[in-house]
């Protein structure tokens, strides 16, 4: 908690002029974009792909152990569950990334 990137003041705005800090921030941003890209690919797959574009062929299959046609299940149940999971996965990934790059928020007293 006591360590800060050079040029920044504890609890204040990080510097955007120090090239070292800026390079760190850019790496942080690239990692964030990669996470977002992967998670949005899953988001697209469970809703638009399985729930809409491929719903018809998937309906030929039952979700194992239930009476759900698979495409219908994705469209009316499964995609929503996956959406919830995606957000919580992102929260975990980003909390870790924030700490790794020391851009996490200091505890507010």
């Amino acid at each position: 908690m006591s360590e800060h990137p050079p040029g920044s003041h504890a609890g204040e705005r990080p510097s955007v002029t120090d090239p070292l800090v800026t390079a760190r921030h850019e790496e942080y941003w690239r990692r964030n974009i990669r996470y977002v890209g992967i998670l949005l690919a899953i988001w697209f797959a469970v809703s638009y792909l399985f729930g809409i574009l491929l719903a018809e062929p998937l309906n030929a299959v039952r979700l194992p152990g239930t009476g759900f046609p698979l495409g219908f299940w994705f469209a009316q149940q499964g995609s929503i569950y996956v959406f919830v999971v995606l957000i919580f996965v992102y929260v975990r990934l980003m909390n870790r990334l924030d700490r790794e790059f020391e851009v996490d928020e200091q505890e507010v007293a």
């Binding site: 920044s8 009476g67 469209a75 149940q77 995609s79 929503i80 957000i87 924030d98």
Partner: protein
């Protein structure tokens, strides 16, 4: 105690609760009024967001709509939940870091332009007003049906309640009443659903009951319903009739519209930190998903019950609820072939259909159809009111802050004092309540289309410019303004053309590429993206302080509480 007394008791008790909370959580500063002092816990904010989001339409109409649309109803289920993923990953944390009070605030500062701010204010007010009129109407209808008062009297009562806690408490009062309203509405929704699921499938969890076995026939419930549909000449329940392309575009417009609706976005300004904003979206979606995964189950239970109870039944033997709802005009039977039996058939059947059912009945009549105790009916009424009031309050706050903060403080009267601004916020909230009430009593004849309009408008205006404002430093003022204006113009023109000017042409044969007016917001959004990025490339890059601002938005550290960044 009869149904009427139970309903009165449930509604009165819930209203007393809301008023108590409003008195306890009065706003004393503009920061309290606009963003609840930015001190709301992520979990409480998640509940408040869920109540804010789920309107009378979600509570009363959605399950019935799905019940009649079958698979096609998926557009609402995916469309109104998937937008939260976009909010969590692309919008909420960055807007929280920026720490503005309103959406036009961000647009105006990021695009260093008063014109952009004013365009955003107009969009925000228009989107919110179209939406709020429907809520006030919903309040009136619930009062009318359950307490047998005049719809207008119902609207007056609703106005008085919202007036009390929105004007007095601002966002702070709204937030904590919304938490209570969520609890009321979800309880009221789940109780009948669990009863129904037990009755039909023997499984107390409706989400599992939907995929379970129908106890009466021993077949999988969905298979049985598909079979019934085939017999009666309806399209298979699990397949639907809309074109795949249209389903795709409508879903996208609703998702992106959700993520662009100002009353949803500002909820994430109320939490203390960036990381709270992220997780708060997650909580919100859990609370929303609870209702949204139950709705399709309720839809199937209600459909199966309805067909089972009435199809080919002699009119003299129909259950009591049938005649009760017939009296309200929401259910109508016309014995075309004069055989004294109810023929409920679809377009593919040789036998003409004799039964018309208003889709709202599916949720409202559920307790009666399933033979549930009277107090459940009272609970459903209180739940419907909670859903309508909580959404109305959130929307009214957007209108009031757009006027007092964006228009007065940031545009016309920058020298206005804190006290003056707070007073202006209260007055504009009060005026907004009155206007909303007026539209509730005299609804424009096109409320349903207007809701599609609100989503299309939010999708084609705010979403692209906010995303690009965060993710592309190079996006310029000229790009954003032209992008917003062209996206909104295309969307508005398409919707107005088909729903207001030429309703007779509003069918798949005349739509452009088979895209319905509900789905056109997606095209408007793509156009906005294309124009904003292209124009940005050919216009001078944003001033350096704006580029620094974008850098700072991307890093969580140093957020502090919501405040105005002097750009």
């Amino acid at each position: 105690m009869n149904v009427q007394a139970w309903t009165f008791l449930c509604v009165a008790a819930s209203f007393a609760l809301y008023i108590g909370i409003a008195i306890w959580s009065r706003a004393s500063t503009t920061k309290d009024f606009y963003v609840a002092g930015a001190g709301v816990s992520p979990l409480a904010n998640g509940m408040a967001t869920a109540a804010d989001w789920m309107s009378a339409a979600s509570f009363i109409s959605m399950a019935g709509l799905i019940s009649f649309m079958g698979y096609d109803g998926s557009v609402y289920l995916m469309g109104w939940t998937g937008g939260y993923v976009l909010l969590a990953l692309l919008l909420a944390p960055y807007l929280r870091k920026y720490g503005a009070y309103t959406v036009p605030d961000f647009v105006g500062d990021r695009y260093y332009s008063q014109l952009a701010r004013v365009v955003a204010v107009i969009c925000a007010i228009f989107v919110s007003f179209t939406y709020v009129a429907g809520q006030m109407r919903g309040v009136g209808i619930v009062f009318g049906r359950f307490l047998e008062v005049d719809i207008n009297t119902g609207v007056y009562i609703g106005m008085a309640i919202v007036f009390f806690y929105a004007v007095l408490g601002g966002m702070k009062g709204i937030t904590y009443t919304q938490v209570a309203q969520y609890c009321v509405l979800i309880f009221a929704y789940m109780v009948p659903a669990i009863f129904l699921s037990l009755l039909i499938t023997g499984n107390p969890v409706p989400q599992l009951g939907l995929g379970g076995v129908d106890q009466a026939s021993g077949m999988a419930l969905l298979e049985r319903l598909n079979g019934l549909h085939q017999e009666l000449g309806f399209a298979a329940y699990t397949s639907g009739t809309k074109s795949t392309l249209d389903v795709f575009f409508i879903t996208a417009a609703l998702m992106v519209g959700t993520a662009g609706l100002p009353h949803v976005i500002i909820r994430f300004y109320t939490v203390p930190r960036v990381r709270d904003a992220r997780i708060s979206v997650g909580w919100a979606l859990i609370f929303i998903a609870l209702l949204y995964t139950t709705a399709p189950a309720v839809a199937v239970f209600a459909r199966t019950n309805l067909i089972g109870a009435v199809s080919d039944t002699p009119y003299s033997d129909v259950p009591e609820w049938f005649t009760n709802w017939e009296a309200t005009g929401l259910l109508a039977f016309d014995d075309l072939n004069g055989d004294g039996r109810v023929q409920f058939t679809g377009p593919a059947s040789p036998v003409p259909n004799e039964l018309t059912v208003d889709r709202d009945i599916m949720v409202l009549a559920n307790p009666e159809i399933a033979g549930l105790p009277d107090w459940v009916v009272g609970l459903v009424a209180a739940g419907g009111l909670a859903a309508a009031l909580s959404t109305a309050a959130g929307l009214l706050l957007v209108v009031s802050s757009a006027i007092s903060h964006d228009l007065l403080k940031r545009t016309l009267m920058p020298r206005i004092t804190e006290k003056g601004e707070l007073l202006a916020a209260r007055i504009s909230a009060a005026v907004a309540v009155v206007i909303a009430g007026y539209f509730g009593m005299n609804p424009p004849g096109f409320v349903a289309q207007v809701v599609a309009f609100a989503f299309g408008l939010a999708a084609s205006s705010f979403f692209p410019v906010i995303i690009l404002g965060i993710f592309s430093r190079r996006t310029t003022r000229e790009g954003a303004i032209l992008g917003m204006v062209s996206g909104v113009t295309l969307t508005a023109a398409y919707i107005v053309w088909f729903t207001l000017m030429h309703p007779e042409l509003n069918n798949a044969d005349h739509w452009w590429l088979g895209i319905s007016p509900e789905g056109i917001g997606t095209v408007g959004m793509l156009l906005n993206f294309a124009i904003t990025t292209t124009v940005s490339r050919f216009t001078p890059e944003p001033p350096s302080h704006v580029q620094v601002l974008v850098e700072l938005i991307r890093i969580p550290r140093g957020a502090g509480s919501a405040h105005e960044i002097s750009a």
